[in-house]
Subunit: 296 residues, 4 copies
């Protein structure tokens, strides 16, 4: 059976790794916080590694799922680093929601060691990870993707080849940028209507039967804003990071993108105001505070 | 049977009036271009009026469906104007996609003559009008809405009371503003991905299975942009007008709305560039031209 | 000697009226707060009026200096209103930093009573008012301006005919809009440099010798921001209002103005955050807070 | 006498190098286009180098003045590259309007060879270069700056130490960003006033006596826009590049900067529309075209 190393047992990494284990792969795991590595190993048959180098030694497929590409890059070097442990011919699958430029640099360094790289960020949240229904956006060689498929299939349902290295990162970032644009602009529109005395339920009812509808108006606002529930499912800090990636891609490609760039600034402001733990939908609270009007 | 006057036989007014006629109301019609008035009368049992005053004389319910509130206001005065013909107790139903401030002024002048007013803009396009499945967004007295319901029901399926006078206009404008924001920002994101070598079909496939999806990504881009069809169903000029209304509502309500205000500027620019006849989705062509990249 | 009525004895109105009195005009004053009217009359030879109507009775020239055009408009009607007291042939000089649309409506109502109107907002602050060195931006008939000149000359040094009614308002609003754009954008640039470790004094020294310089970089930042003095000389709330006027003029004229419109939103946000008493330069505090970096 | 190598004999590099030669330094020059190198050598006593490596061999001070940092970086490697010719202990003075991130990478590579680096972009244009009155913004070690001073003094009058490596680039970029913001926003405001019938001369006369004034309103618009002269002194393409650098610095420093980011998009759009040869002030033509109104 294929030997797999999985690095990064965070909120979404854990259930993804769990599904890899349950699919019968011979799994070694590593997490920055050692306790979490041990807990995972205790709960499965996986081996707990003591370092990135230790984790990937002998692995045919290495999966990383960290916060940023820079975190992945920081694991490469040193005596305990990935490059010290990786064998020629291994396949590196980076499920981090990364940035194309850093991914390209990582891929280049790995290629020099005979290791193939694909970026493979996922969407679908923790519940999608638990149920194995994630969408996986892949950038890199199609042949490398084909080799990764059995592992990806353990947690992903829709596996899409987007293009060369970084294309998976870019598509993920752009999807999330659209989400951010929808959240903020729907907040603006509903705050104005609310102040005018229009019940936001009524407004959403109309919008959701009309041309202005989006996943945000159909699901996020009714379930999270109008109810004041604001569950913490996806951190604003991470969406801010994704917007930064999307904005950089548009600039790199020399595409005029005023709405995208402005929204990146707005979420930077919201992040500074609401802190690290706030959920992405709580960005609406900034509009509400400044408008003096709750959307409820 | 209730006597109804219908003023404004444009692209959407015509099929709406047609359904009013078919529902058996005793109908009088008027259009600025007399030939169109005569054509309509010839095609139905409606009476062709020679002036706004003539059209509304004796009418219990008056329906207007013009380009802007200012057009409606301009029909009020003079010997041939609406105020000269309207009887006390009549009900004025304005289906124009109007602006709340002008609607309020019209309502005030009508009230002084004992005529009730509701703003009742519609969405659903010409096909919705033909099939009687429009959504009608109503602002004004609930009692007035109840009186209007039989007429509205002839062309509308979902009839929603949004609030006081102007609330229907505001909800319509905000829905369309969201549409505009989605069209432009989806264009930005897909142009950047396309330049990077990502097939926009693949990108949309991912987005439409993810959190960034909207009516725009699910329907408008696949059917109209990727195909290069850009059918002319709803004029950019009118969406520009609607954005102006939405932007003014947000300012009037003192709600910070940077994305909405910026998008209003972008569509003003697109309107200046593409002219009066362009479809609203063609705004994407401005991004494509500046990016040097078709989304296809 | 010409009889003059002066309405609005605020921070700038008071010293303007004082100079009118000192120039020897026969002056009657009125202020919403009666105590201030009495204090002014006690300090000069001016007559204290008990109402707007009382103030303007017999006046050949009426000067208003209120917060907004809406305040001026609100004084027109009623038994105690301006229209009740104004004589045919009088000249109405509105020194309010007003908006062209409301000024036009006021001018129209006054014209119907045979009263000429010019908008004549001023710049130069309280010290300019005290020293009689204000700049006066005039909109309206040149003949009316000529009639007003003797009174304007008592507090103004540079008296500029800008165009028809509303042109003075528009020029004033645009000047202030440029000021606001300079304040905010200089704040952005210096906050970024400061975080990078560049001393903002050094940066301003360079900018003020280069193409990026402005009154804001030459005077406001060195004297008010770097010193942390932030003296309260011109309220942010008023600059927010002026931006609203400038933004509305650009929209009314159908001129794409993304920077102006965005800046209007930013000052709206700063106004909501910093309240009614903050100085206009304190808008920079919002940037500093969000950047986690003082410009000092 | 100190041996100096000067690479990059463009519009501004040529007169700078000329002043270095005239100051008596032993000069070697190199330019990508060999003819220009030969012409310069023929006009002075400078030696014409055949490659970057040849140019810097034996030089104590190397000055580069290229279009972008990437151009400088591209000269480092290879048999004919700078690194092949540079001696330990040399001083590298980069007068390119560069970006801090690339400058830092270049500095790091040079440091590994025992070569000190300062970024030293200039402002003042070709006439400032000819007259030796440029402003030089320096980033890097103060000791290195002191060593460079004699050479810098041959073309610069105001030599400012801004901070560590990249600080000179950042200050230059931010100054130019302010310039760009002023040009565009003044264009918006004057286009709106012009459409309203206000003579832009009158408006500028007022603004230049008031709080909204800037170098742009005092010099650029009166001399270049109102006259329709639009002389080509500084390419829009380069200002677009500088805005990109400034916008990246603000993002890197995590400073919310909506006006800066939006202006970067507007100049990207203007650059795409007006091409490589347009002057930076011609950005105003985009506003004029969309507004249907010349500012004249």
């Amino acid at each position: 059976m294929t030997q797999v190393a999985f690095l990064g047992l965070g909120a979404i990494g854990w259930p993804m790794a769990r599904r890899v284990a349950d699919a019968g792969f011979e799994l070694t795991v590593w997490n920055r916080t050692a306790a979490r590595t041990r807990d995972f190993a205790a709960a499965t048959k996986a081996r707990a590694a003591t370092s990135p180098a230790d984790a990937v030694r002998g692995a045919e497929v290495v999966v990383t799922c960290l916060s940023t590409s820079k975190h992945v890059a920081s694991l490469l070097d040193g005596a305990d680093g990935l490059l010290a442990g990786l064998a020629r011919g291994a396949l590196f699958v980076d499920c981090t929601s990364g940035d194309p430029a850093t991914s390209a640099r990582i891929a280049e360094r790995l290629a020099a060691q005979g290791v193939a790289y694909i970026d493979a960020p996922v969407s679908g949240g923790t519940s999608g990870a638990e149920q194995g229904t994630l969408t996986v956006m892949v950038g890199g060689d199609r042949a490398a993707l084909d080799r990764a498929r059995p592992v990806l299939a353990s947690f992903g349902k829709k596996i899409v080849h987007c293009g060369g290295v970084g294309a998976g990162d870019a598509v993920k970032a752009m999807n999330n940028a659209m989400l951010a644009i929808h959240v903020w602009s729907t907040g603006e529109c509903l705050a104005a209507l609310s102040r005018m005395g229009v019940d936001p339920r009524v407004a959403l009812d109309v919008v959701n039967a009309s041309s202005g509808r989006s996943n945000t108006s159909e699901n996020l606002f009714p379930q999270r804003v109008l109810t004041r529930a604001f569950p913490r499912t996806f951190r604003l800090a991470l969406l801010d990071k994704d917007l930064g990636i999307a904005a950089a891609v548009a600039r790199e490609q020399n595409v005029p993108s005023p709405i995208l760039q402005l929204t990146a600034e707005l979420f930077r402001m919201a992040h500074a105001e609401l802190g690290e733990e706030a959920d992405h939908v709580e960005a609406v609270r900034v509009i509400e505070r400044l408008a003096g009007q709750e959307i409820a």
